[in-house]
């Protein structure tokens, strides 16, 4: 495949189109507006082609709509997912807050869909600078109830596309909503990338709402259980599914950890910088490695436990938030190593020198 040069937000769109996305419903918000705009361009360009009698480039992409609010967008995604189509929406932190009720319903009704969160400064209106403050919201559940989202954290424009394609497959496979958790820096960054060969995995959707037709039973997408017994049954099924995802879909990247004494861990944009800092530290003779979780849920607790059971006794968590990734790292490390936090927030991305300084202090 040939190399392309594009923005992170555009890569998400291209990845989704390659994955056969059928509907995009969204609402503009900085720094995610390029996603809805790029989808609009592709959609209307195809309609122009059809008018001229040519074939559309993306025949599957037949629903594009700028909805009246973030809330309407997530509910339209629920509608699209209910009828068995691949649908997605994209927003940024305050918009994702608005979507939480819809996300809770999507998880309860076991509907596959992709939600993109281009994180920005928070809480409140915050800023349009990148931050990573929505980790808890995505991973520990911002919506009500006991549920989990499959959360992927790309750290390059390449991964923005790759993870979108992967997430469509994962969400269809497990019938669960999923989230791409990234930040404004990656969304706006331009980089070269190459489309990976991720096939569109087809999964049967006998549960989809398509009109009763000749079926004997109705297909109803619902999440109300008035009596305890059906509720227990439904939740047991949900949690068995989550256990299965936890066993099968953990993804992470390790770099120079074989003989490391200090482990630096980060996801998203800080992980790129941390990798460079690890190299700089190694030049200075410090034995340091990097662990980058790729799936934030299911979180790779086991690899933290494994690595800290050997010679690693110091873990430096680098995040653009105030101790959110830290908590999961501590759970994985379980006291086997000293865990320190390097929190950078307000919209500043740490530089290699900053991280290097923290590593040297820790050593």
């Amino acid at each position: 495949m040939s190399k392309l040069y594009m923005k992170g937000n555009e890569a998400i769109v291209e990845g989704a189109l390659k994955a056969g996305v059928e509907g995009f419903l969204g609402y503009p918000i900085t720094p995610a507006s390029e996603i809805i705009e790029t989808f609009a361009q592709r959609y209307f360009a195809d309609r122009e082609r059809e008018k001229r009698g040519e074939k559309p480039l993306y025949p599957k992409f037949r629903l594009f709509l700028q909805m009246e609010s973030e809330i309407a967008s997530i509910n339209a995604v629920m509608g699209g997912a209910s009828v068995g189509c691949r649908v997605m929406t994209a927003s940024s932190s305050p918009g994702i807050s608005l979507k939480q009720e819809g996300i809770s319903y999507l998880a309860a009704c076991e509907l596959p869909c992709v939600i993109v969160n281009i994180m920005r400064g928070g809480p409140g209106l915050g800023s349009i600078q990148p931050e990573q403050g929505d980790y808890f919201q995505a991973v520990k559940g911002g919506g009500h109830g006991d549920y989990k989202l499959i959360v992927l954290a790309p750290n390059s424009v390449q991964e923005m596309a790759e993870h979108t394609m992967l997430l469509f497959n994962l969400t269809d496979k497990y019938r669960n909503p999923g989230m791409i958790l990234t930040d404004g820096y990656l969304g706006q960054m331009k980089e070269s990338m190459e489309f990976p060969d991720i096939p569109i995995e087809k999964y049967e959707k006998p549960w989809a709402v398509t009109g009763i037709g000749d079926r004997e039973t109705q297909n109803i997408i619902e999440s109300l259980f008035l009596a305890p017994e059906p509720m227990i049954e439904a939740k047991t099924k949900l949690w068995q599914k989550y256990k299965k995802i936890e066993s099968n879909e953990v993804r992470y990247e390790i770099y120079k950890v074989e003989d490391a004494k200090i482990l630096v861990t980060a996801y998203g944009t800080p992980s790129r910088v941390a990798k460079a800092a690890v190299d700089l530290a190694r030049e200075k003779g410090v034995k340091v490695g990097l662990l980058r979780p790729i799936t934030l849920w299911p979180f790779p607790y086991k690899i933290y436990a494994d690595l800290t059971s050997n010679q690693i006794d110091k873990v430096l968590v680098v995040e653009m938030s105030f101790g959110q990734l830290l908590e999961d790292v501590k759970l994985g490390v379980e006291g086997r190593a000293e865990v320190r936090l390097y929190a950078v927030y307000g919209g500043i991305v740490p530089t290699e020198k900053d991280i290097l300084e923290k590593i040297m202090e820790f050593d």
């Binding site: 509907g23 809330i71 309407a72 319903y105 109803i220 619902e222």
Partner: protein, 248 residues
């Protein structure tokens, strides 16, 4: 000796399953029955997707044998937008109460109607929040007592009753808006005709239709079924006039 046979006057219902949990004399039962009859008559049961509200009729799909979706409170028009646009071959109906459509869901219904979405909305207006025990609704009449307006609704605190048909009539896109009721046989007939027309509008791809049905709530109004329909006939129609508001 004469030999005779008993012939049923009406066909057995296919869509409406009956055995509802609704209170005796509740307009929801009657309206489900009418909707079921029209779906049977038009022969579209296999294609219908019904989007239930949050409210007393949250389990409407237990009584209407069609496919459907139970969405969050008020969001049915947004769900219906995506469903109809992705599956235009289905007949998409949203069935919403006054809290669902006129309180939390006003944004969704106005924008869906404004876009001229090709689905049909049945809006059940009974001037009170039934399922949660009788609180004030946006359509509660002035002076009407409810659990959150114990002395009766007062305009200075709570505003005026919201007239949805009139509101939507200011938009360009909707093709059919009518307010009907079920308090006597003539109006039951009129409601049937309205729902039939609204569904035919969808089948023939004319545009967005909304049928507002003035209904009762005997339990929360603390009246018998007969008294509650009298209330609808005499009091509610003064504030919510019946009739066709738009018919393109």
């Amino acid at each position: 000796m004469r030999v005779s046979a008993l012939i049923p006057k009406y066909p057995e219902p296919q869509t409406y399953l009956g055995r509802t949990h609704y209170c005796p004399g509740c307009g929801h039962s009657t309206l489900h029955k009418i909707l079921g009859e029209i779906i049977d008559e038009l022969g579209i049961r296999k294609k219908v997707i019904l989007i239930e509200p949050i409210g007393c009729s949250v389990i409407a799909l237990s009584y209407l044998k069609v496919d459907g979706i139970q969405g969050p409170h008020g969001r049915a028009p947004a769900i219906a937008t995506a469903v109809k646009r992705l599956r235009p071959q289905n007949i998409v109906i949203t069935y919403q109460g006054d809290g669902d459509l006129a309180a939390i869901g006003t944004n969704e219904i106005i924008h869906a109607a404004n876009r001229g979405e090709m689905f049909t909305t049945i809006f059940v207006n009974n001037a009170v929040y039934g399922m949660t025990g009788g609180q004030m609704a946006p359509t509660t009449l002035l002076g009407q007592k409810s659990t959150t307006t114990p002395g009766g609704r007062v305009a200075e605190y709570c505003g005026y009753p919201l007239r949805v048909c009139e509101l939507l009539n200011t938009l360009d896109a909707p093709v059919y808006l009518e307010r009907v009721s079920l308090f006597d046989l003539e109006h039951i007939s009129r409601t049937k005709a309205a729902i039939r027309k609204a569904l035919i509008n969808q089948i023939e791809k004319r545009g967005f239709s909304l049928v507002e049905v003035l209904s009762n709530c005997p339990t929360n109004w603390k009246m018998s079924p007969k008294q509650s329909w009298n209330f609808v006939k005499q009091e509610m129609t003064k504030v919510f006039p019946l009739g066709v508001f738009r018919d393109k």
